[in-house]
């Protein structure tokens, strides 16, 4: 397993947000985490990427115990996290944002991959010298993903890929996840868009109030009508 988390307990002050979460992601796999608002999805990703410390539990990644590693070191090991809200630095230009993505790999020139990002997202090449804040929501998401790819991750974690985006863009980005996967990257998707996610995911976790209520294949989840209705609001 590329990523293996066991028994993660995470809280804010007195309140616990995750009550012992175990989760795995293999190489070249798309794993989705679904759950309603406040279920703890963001907290989980932030813990995995080293922004938050777990009070209990272990995380191992690519053979290393990373439970206590800070975020900036995990990037070098190969975890890249597109945070909730995308984390595009609006004051910086598109190219500067991309350069930051390659920071852990010694800059864009050394990292290579800029051409590839521009090939995936031609619009970024067109607007390379504009402030990132001028991009549309979809373009900002592309920038955030492109920036993450420049860190040459083994695992790409995206918090709410589809939030606030037009269906056409969501489609395009989900396709992209598939392409990335075939190149051997693993993807951990946190989503509320159930239908789109179940189409691309290999395995799904359903998070309910900081517990894992289900894990398995998309088909198995679809078969759990009660879970789908109660926690994901779908029929």
């Amino acid at each position: 397993m590329l990523l293996q988390a066991e028994g993660l307990r995470v809280g804010y002050g007195e309140m616990m947000a995750l009550h012992g979460i175990s989760l795995q992601a293999g190489a070249g796999e798309i794993v989705a985490v679904l759950g309603a608002n406040g279920a703890g999805k963001t907290t989980l990703l932030r813990t995995l990427s080293g922004l938050l410390s777990a009070r209990a539990g272990r995380i191992s990644f690519d053979g290393h115990d990373v439970s206590r590693r800070p975020a900036h070191q995990l990037v070098r090991l190969g975890i890249s996290h597109v945070p909730e809200g995308r984390g595009v630095l609006a004051e910086l230009t598109v190219i500067e944002n991309l350069q930051l993505g390659a920071y852990a790999r010694g800059g864009v020139r050394k990292s290579g991959g800029l051409d590839r990002v521009f090939e995936l997202f031609p619009v970024l090449a067109e607007r390379r010298d504009q402030p990132a804040g001028m991009l549309s929501g979809g373009e900002q998401q592309m920038l955030a993903i492109g920036r993450s790819l420049l860190a040459r991750p083994k695992l790409l974690m995206i918090d709410e890929l589809s939030l606030g985006l037009a269906p056409r863009i969501v489609h395009q980005l989900m396709d992209l996840m598939h392409t990335i996967k075939t190149e051997g990257l693993s993807v951990l998707l946190v989503e509320q868009n159930v239908h789109q996610t179940l189409k691309v995911a290999d395995r799904v976790y359903l998070l309910v109030n900081g517990h894992i209520a289900f894990q398995g294949t998309p088909d198995a989840l679809r078969a759990e009508g009660d879970l789908m209705r109660t926690y994901l609001g779908t029929d």
Partner: protein, 318 residues
Amino acid sequence: MPGKTSGWAFALIAVAALAIAPLWLGTYPRYVISVWLIFALSAVGLNIPIGLASIYSFGHGGFMLIGAYATGVATISWGWPLLPAMLLAVVIAIAVGALIGLPSLRLTGFSLAIVTFAFGYMLFHVVKAFDLTGGPQGLFMPETALARAWGGRPLYYMVLAIFVVGVFWAHSIATGKTGRALRTLGTNEIVAQSLGINLLRAKMLSFMLSGVYGAVAGSLLALVTTYVAPETYTPELSINMFAAVMIGGSGTLVGPILGALFIVLIPELTQSAQNLSEIIYALIFCLVATLFPSGLLGMAKSAIRRLRPQPVPAAVRE
């Protein structure tokens, strides 16, 4: 702290001790205690913007300057009696406090802090420039009857009485409607606004109130030291007052009083260490600020709390 019965009892004992002590104490210790009480009064007032409303105020020395100079000029140059002179000081401080508070809504905390700092800095340079205020030499206060009679004890009791009144007033402000409003806006301005708190008025009020305290303290300082010199009211005074509140423990009643004790007493106590005293003061200042962010009071509280086990808080990874 007053509020619990034990707090009131403690306050009562402390005031009683401060009231009987001068019957035995000599002139110098009495002088030191007076200076402490004056700085404590000033710090208690400064705690209103800092501790309640979380507004940086780096110009509190300016209010003390206003108090000292208004009292000095009115009594010496215009021959006013003491009380009207002090009243004048308070009125000016209120007006100036309102002026400083006026732009507070348009400014970020940092900018407002620099404005307050600049205000104290400007006054320091202005009083040095004019003959009315005695120029660079400053003003010598005539000896008042309060200081002459009974070895100066009446002046001491006046300081103590004003200090006690000031502390109780601050307590009632902090626990009353104004205090609640200031604390709310200090935590979250948007919430405060939605609760119908007039932000501008509240912020201006916090500066005006702290101005009253500063001016009265400055007046008393002029009387006790019998000397109004620009060098007393440098920007460093503002910094020391700010430090007193933060080191003692902002947002509490006892904290600023403790902090004032710190800034008055440490230099006095370490005087035997000759020129090293300033360094020792600065070192302790640095140590407390760095290791005990919630001040001396917080340090005492956490020492008590450490006796009980605590849950580990969520923390950003090191």
